[in-house]
């Protein structure tokens, strides 16, 4: 945009009907105009405007429709609870127009209309309102039953707010941690005062405020004068001068979590703040008065109009009626007048009216003041998009409305200033006990957790000078608690003379539409219904009516709901209590909570070799393992078969570095291993390996591997890939408990490992190994230390895949080197790398189990047909005592080998297909493969013990119900005497 047109745009924006001339303290930058579209119409504003303020500047206050009745709605609070003006664009389904900054080029729509704001087809819901009381949906739509899905479909069309765009990209945010001595939440007068006091005591202070600029009520509550901005200026200059204070504006304290963790959310990310102490100076929410048509656009909190006026230079009306019960209403009236508007009346609900100088000031301007009156209803303008008048009636001394008489004031805006509810959500979340103060008609902190402090309005302090003192007090206390020495200066905060909050700002009306909850479209009658139906405690009422369950979480509705319930039940407010305040204070984007979503991943040292060899990887715990290696022209299954063939006939090599590897040293090492595993190790010779089966205390199989004895007091143990971390951890605990003199070293990451297997494996290894690897020198099950290509290595003759083979362990940094060496040597013999799938077939042909595939969470060694590996007559091993109990009970199932007929050509059963006997479930397949070596389909299955006889015919049922006959056979299937591995 050129400068000229920029200037023009700026003057255009300034010419908006309700935009006032430049004023001190405004938050908009008049040099930066912007334009955006809302519901097809273009609006102008300035950088710094919120969406609502820019729209309001045009004179339009009708910005949305309500959730249930689709009534026209507008600005309520300008402080992040205006759910009825929620908007959406193509990236964000729920934009809070009252606080989200307008941006040039935005394309905004309402969230809850069918066919646009004005012509919303949903508006007819308003006529049906008498049919739709609280909880109506519980009472109907369920008969006849078959119709309910249709009704539900209709609901699902009507409900929800914005529409999510499935093309929205994933956003990764850079979450961070932060630390502070004192975190001050809220930068109003009490918060700033607290920060200054704490910092003077030496504490490092962070002040957060959800508003884009600090200052709280000092930024808008002027009362027609300039004391507030002057005070703010003084406070801010002091804060700026203090290097121990950081102010994070535009940062929401979204939730409090134990040990003073606070989720701080700004536009870009979430910061997880850990503070030594927290000062909650979060202020209060102004509360609405409940009267008929209090939801019309143009009826709003007094503070909303003041915010619009002072921050954005927007005057929302020309002629106001101010409904109040406190001096803030008078100040708001004075502000409106100073903004050039007229105030038709101040309607003061208190019988005595305002007794302070604010009354004189307002009266002095000629404003009509009616004490002991209320607004009975607001009269809509034709078309119902705004307000045209307020009907004012007298309140009796008992607070009842006197129906007779009344005055009607025409007006284009009604401001509500009938009091506040504390913004105590974080205090509640921190575990603060609150009590209801009848003096100020507000919940106040009664018992604060020890490192939490509260000051200002949330603490029930409203007089400006007292708020500063209260902040100072809290700041000093917080610094002291954080460990700073504070000179004993007691800060006395005078008691509040009276509170600004009306005890019952609720005016009934026979025609209803006097709204208590604007998010959920609940009017007064809904609460009567709830109590009549016995949903008459606050939690049940909340659930039945859904009060406070909307996006603003009851910030403007909970307090009035409590007041209504108390009155209906004849109880006082303390007896009613409050609902539980939970995070978040305002909703937080998933992207901000998720951050980058760290997902650690482990790679073996040979990973890139596998990549080069065409490996297809699979997940094994957090490891990536080659599932198989792709070979051009071969299908997955063909490639796997070729890998298997290569091991059976020549030589193959698999990376087994993901196995857990644990070294156990020390005088008690052998005793320790005896206790950890089911087998016998006391007499295990140095230089040998034995199978190791590990149980939990209930006797269930949790892990298996190999125990190798490297020296009298040095063992090398392998575990399953997924079990390794847990086994290592538990070993350490048991060693502590048993007070064993052992050293346990987790070598999983330090050792690369590969299994070189196949008839030609010896030929591949021999030339590079510095020891004789013949069967005589390294027999089956031997363990040797040696050097391979100059790299110190451990080799084990183990037979998981059932061929002559060497499991080779070398330091990780040299894993790739040794792998390359052997692969290169292996070229002469047609070596092929093989993956997890081929290994699964190879081991299955040998009948070896895989823990967690061929066992489950209840399988003990006897069930798994591993009784041979369990030495029950040892003094002790983990799980032994439980096995003794289990041994006495009947087996429910045992693991057995099976084979399909050699000529079976039908659909292959899959793992987990059931074994069916006489129509009952009698087992299931745990592993199955079509074995080329054996020429038939074989597998392992759980089978009912009475069926477990070699030669017995059983049946498996395929997913489609077809039955496949199979025979129970002995294992190992392949080379039953193990001759091929003992060569």
């Amino acid at each position: 945009m050129t400068d000229l047109s920029n200037q023009q745009a700026a003057s255009n924006a300034a010419l908006e009907k309700n935009r006032m001339a430049r004023q001190d303290g405004e938050w908009i930058d008049r040099n930066q105009p912007l334009h955006f579209v809302f519901e097809g119409k273009t609006y102008s504003g300035f950088v710094g405007d919120t969406i609502s303020s820019a729209i309001a500047a045009s004179g339009n206050l009708f910005m949305g429709r309500s959730f249930k009745y689709h009534r026209p709605r507008g600005i309520l609070s300008m402080s992040n609870h205006d759910i009825n003006t929620m908007m959406q664009d193509d990236q964000d389904p729920t934009i809070r127009a009252d606080v989200v900054l307008a941006q040039n080029g935005m394309q905004l729509r309402t969230v809850n209309t069918f066919g646009g704001l004005k012509s919303d087809r949903g508006r007819y819901m308003n006529c049906l309102s008498r049919f739709l009381p609280a909880g109506f949906y519980y009472k109907t739509f369920h008969t006849p039953k078959w119709l309910f899905p249709m009704w539900e479909k209709m609901f699902r069309t009507l409900t929800g707010l914005g529409k999510v765009n499935f093309e929205t990209p994933r956003r990764y945010t850079a979450k961070r941690y932060a630390f502070a001595d004192v975190l001050v939440i809220g930068s109003g007068p009490s918060g700033l005062s607290a920060a200054l006091a704490a910092a003077k005591a030496g504490a490092q202070v962070v002040v957060v405020d959800e508003n884009v600029r600090p200052g709280g009520s000092l930024t808008y509550d002027y009362g027609g004068m300039d004391e507030s901005p002057a005070l703010l200026g003084r406070l801010l200059s002091e804060v700026t001068a203090c290097e121990k204070i950081e102010i994070w504006a535009g940062t929401l304290a979204a939730g409090y979590y134990s040990d003073n963790w606070i989720a701080l959310v700004d536009d870009q990310r979430m910061t997880k703040m850990r503070a030594k102490t927290v000062v909650v100076a979060s202020g209060s929410y102004e509360q609405p008065c409940v009267f008929r048509n209090n939801d019309l656009p143009g009826v709003m909190m007094a503070s909303a109009a003041q915010r619009l006026l002072r921050r954005y230079a927007v005057r929302v009306g020309r002629n106001f009626v101010v409904l109040t019960s406190n001096s803030a209403g008078y100040r708001a009236a004075l502000d409106m007048v100073s903004g050039g508007a007229s105030v038709a009346a101040i309607v003061d609900m208190r019988p005595e009216g305002e007794l302070s100088h604010w009354h004189e000031l307002a009266a002095g301007l000629g404003i009509r003041i009616l004490a002991g009156h209320c607004i009975y209803e607001a009269i809509p303008e034709p078309g119902r998009y705004g307000v045209s008048a307020a009907v004012v009636k007298r309140l009796s001394s008992a607070g009842e409305i006197e129906q007779a008489g009344g005055v009607t004031f025409s007006c284009d805006a009604i401001l509500m200033a009938v009091g506040y509810a504390p913004a105590a959500n974080l205090l509640y979340q921190a575990g603060t006990k609150m009590r209801y103060s009848h003096e100020i008609e507000q919940f106040v902190p009664d018992l604060l957790p020890e490192s939490i402090f509260a000051c200002g309005r949330v603490n029930g302090v409203y007089t400006l000078s007292s708020r500063l003192l209260d902040g100072e007090r809290a700041g000093l206390e917080a610094a002291q608690k954080a460990g700073y020495v504070v000179e004993q200066k007691r800060v006395d905060v005078p008691a509040e003379p009276s509170g600004p909050t009306h005890p019952y700002p609720i005016i009934s009306h026979p025609k209803g539409m006097n709204f208590v909850d604007f998010d959920e479209d609940l009017h007064l009658r809904d609460f009567y219904v709830s109590v009549q139906e016995a949903f008459d405690n606050i939690e049940l009422m909340k659930r039945f009516t859904t009060v406070g369950m909307g996006p603003s979480q009851g910030k403007h509705s909970n307090m009035n709901a409590i007041r209504i319930l108390a009155r209906l039940k004849g109880k006082n407010i303390d007896e009613i209590g409050t609902t539980t305040a939970r995070p978040f204070f305002h909703p937080v984007k998933l992207s901000h909570l998720a951050g980058k979503g760290f997902t650690p991943e482990r790679l073996t040292p040979m990973h890139h070799r596998h990549q080069e060899l065409g490996a297809v990887f699979m997940d094994a715990g957090n490891w990536k393992r080659p599932e198989y290696y792709q070979i051009e022209g071969l299908s997955r299954i063909e490639a796997i078969r070729q890998e298997v063939r290569s091991v059976r006939t020549n030589v193959g090599m698999i990376d087994v570095g993901t196995l857990g590897k644990i070294e156990i040293f020390g005088p008690d090492a052998v005793l320790f291993i005896e206790r950890m595993y089911t087998g016998l190790f006391a007499k295990q010779a140095v230089g040998t390996t034995r199978y190791a089966l590990g149980l939990d205390e209930t006797g269930v199989v949790i892990d298996d591997g190999v125990v190798g004895r490297l020296a009298q007091e040095h063992f090398f143990v392998t575990t399953t890939t997924t079990g390794s971390a847990q086994i290592y951890r538990e070993m350490n605990r048991w060693a502590l408990l048993w007070k064993m003199n052992v050293g346990i070293v987790n070598a999983t990451g330090y050792m690369a490992a590969m299994n070189l297997a196949g008839p030609k494996s010896r030929a591949v290894l021999a030339p590079h190994c510095n020891i004789d690897v013949s069967d005589a020198s390294v027999p089956y099950l031997a363990l040797r230390t040696c050097e391979i290509g100059g790299v110190s290595a451990r080799i084990m003759r183990v037979g998981f895949v059932g061929e002559l083979g060497y499991e080779i362990h070398v330091p990780s940094e040299k894993g790739a080197y040794v792998w390359d060496l052997l692969m290169q040597e292996g070229q002469k013999y047609g070596i092929q790398p093989f993956g997890v799938e081929a290994q699964r077939i190879l081991r299955l042909e040998k009948g070896h189990i895989i823990v967690s595939q061929d066992t489950d969470g209840l399988t003990n060694p006897f069930d798994a047909a591993c009784g041979w590996a369990v030495k029950m007559n040892k003094p002790f091993f983990i799980g032994q005592r439980s096995l003794k109990i289990a041994q006495a009970t009947e087996r429910k199932q045992v693991l057995a080998g099976f084979a399909l007929a050699e000529n079976y050509r039908g659909e292959l059963p899959k793992e987990s297909h059931l074994l069916i006997e006489a129509g009952d479930i009698a087992g299931r397949i745990t592993s199955i493969t079509d074995s080329e070596a054996l020429g038939r389909v074989i597998g392992l299955c759980f089978v009912r013990p009475d069926l477990n006889e070699i030669g017995r015919m059983v049946q498996f049922r395929l997913s489609d119900g077809a039955l496949v006959p199979a025979q129970i056979v002995a294992t190992p299937f392949y080379d039953p005497d193990g001759m091929r591995q003992k060569v």
Partner: protein
């Protein structure tokens, strides 16, 4: 416009009677005292009165009706369990659920949505097939489906989960449903109340009077009640109550957290569960995405929220649904889950005569509400474990005869 609404609207005075009667005073003696005014306790009261004619019953609720895990769960109803006993039990529950709105004349919003349990590994696929086959065997609709099927049903989901753990397939359970949890408790409460059961809220049990191994009564915050039979249906408070009668159980209380987003226009009509990513999600009729994860990894007897939970959950949600980046989490909360070592409940008689237990509901209690009411009322009425719950007896632990639901636990959870 259904007639009911019309009637409501046209009547001058609101015609609905109170849902429950408020009783001023505890009676001196009841045939059965039920501790816990959640779904399970109220359902047991309802069926005691309806099926067994035992109406001199009171339900004691420490807080308010349905305020415990009944009102905190994510409302999923399914029966695709692993063991025949488990499947039969939960299937009965689903069947009861399906007619409950009509039984109560109260709309529970029982909504059959279909339920996907995603498998991200081949071992998870094995478990899914196992469950599917057992389910089918028992006449429960479940099948293993492939990626294409999932893509057709939930086209919005990223089946590669941002590359972290691609989905291999899923167990699809067509009868999987959701229901309005509060209304289930209210319906049972109203039904029990109509039949003469007395319900007391804000009434806490402080002691159970046991002599010679037999229950004689309970002390409450409102006075003593004499009774020969006490049913304990208090989920997260179970160990407090069992401690009163000196029964030791394997139950450990761990919080289960959940959260909801701001309402957005409904787009997710099914229920999605991923064990690997620790996510379950459905979208309510209000438009909120209702999300949960697994239980917190340590014991605690409170319903505090943690940030770790929302951080982990949202990261995994975005792996599956990246377009929710700008959707906002509105509220989080927690319940206290009474976990058992074999992921199955503990139900039935106990070594104390007249003391019955309905506990160990962990994270799966809501879906069992009707069948628990039915079987526990039978058990209390006949002083004999109902056949559907024998597998869940407390003595299974000392017999080392755990339920097979743990079978799946070693694989893909």
């Amino acid at each position: 416009m259904p007639l009911r609404l019309l009637r409501f609207a046209l009547s001058h005075k609101h015609p609905e009677p109170p849902m429950f009667t408020e009783h001023d005073q505890l009676g001196k003696t009841y045939d059965v005292v039920i501790i816990g005014g959640g779904g399970h306790g109220l359902a047991a009261a309802y069926y005691l009165a309806r099926n067994h004619g035992i109406k001199n019953v009171c339900v004691l609720e420490k807080n308010y009706l349905g305020g415990g895990n009944t009102g905190r769960n994510t409302t999923i109803v399914r029966s695709n369990y692993l063991t025949p006993e488990g499947v039969a039990f939960y299937d009965r529950s689903v069947k009861l659920f399906q007619d409950l709105s009509q039984d109560f004349d109260l709309n529970l919003f029982y909504s059959t949505r279909g339920h996907f349990t995603l498998a991200h590994t081949d071992s998870a696929m094995r478990t899914m097939r196992w469950r599917a086959e057992v389910n089918k065997h028992l006449g429960v609709e479940s099948e293993v489906v492939d990626r294409d099927f999932i893509r057709r049903m939930v086209p919005e989901m990223d089946l590669d989960c941002s590359g972290h753990s691609p989905i291999h397939g899923a167990l699809y359970h067509k009868p999987g449903a959701v229901a309005r949890h509060d209304a289930v408790a209210w319906g049972y409460g109203r039904g029990a109340d109509m039949r003469g059961v007395e319900i007391f809220q804000k009434t806490e049990v402080t002691r159970i009077d046991v002599k010679h191994g037999k229950v004689r009564g309970v002390d409450t915050s409102r006075g003593y009640i004499s009774t020969p039979k006490v049913l304990c249906a208090v989920a997260g408070s179970t160990p407090r109550i069992t401690q009163m009668v000196g029964i030791r159980t394997p139950i450990v209380i761990q919080p289960l957290q959940a959260c909801v987003t701001e309402p957005i226009k409904p787009w997710l009509d099914t229920i999605i569960v991923s064990g690997s990513l620790h996510v379950y999600v459905s979208q309510s009729d209000r438009g909120e995405l209702v999300m949960g994860a697994s239980v917190d990894p340590y014991e605690i007897h409170s319903t505090r929220s943690t940030l770790d939970f929302t951080e982990g959950l949202t990261a995994h949600m975005l792996d599956m649904f990246p377009f929710l980046s700008n959707t906002k989490v509105n509220r989080q909360w927690a319940g206290m889950a009474d976990m058992t070592p074999d992921f199955a409940p503990i139900m039935g008689k106990t070594p104390i005569e007249g003391f019955y237990i309905d506990a160990g509901w962990g994270t799966w209690g809501f879906k069992a509400t009707p069948v628990c009411g039915e079987t526990m009322s039978y058990t209390v009425a006949h002083d004999q474990d109902h056949e559907l719950i024998r597998t869940f007896r407390l003595s299974r632990f000392k017999e080392l005869d755990l339920t097979g639901e743990k079978g799946a636990a070693s694989v893909g959870h």
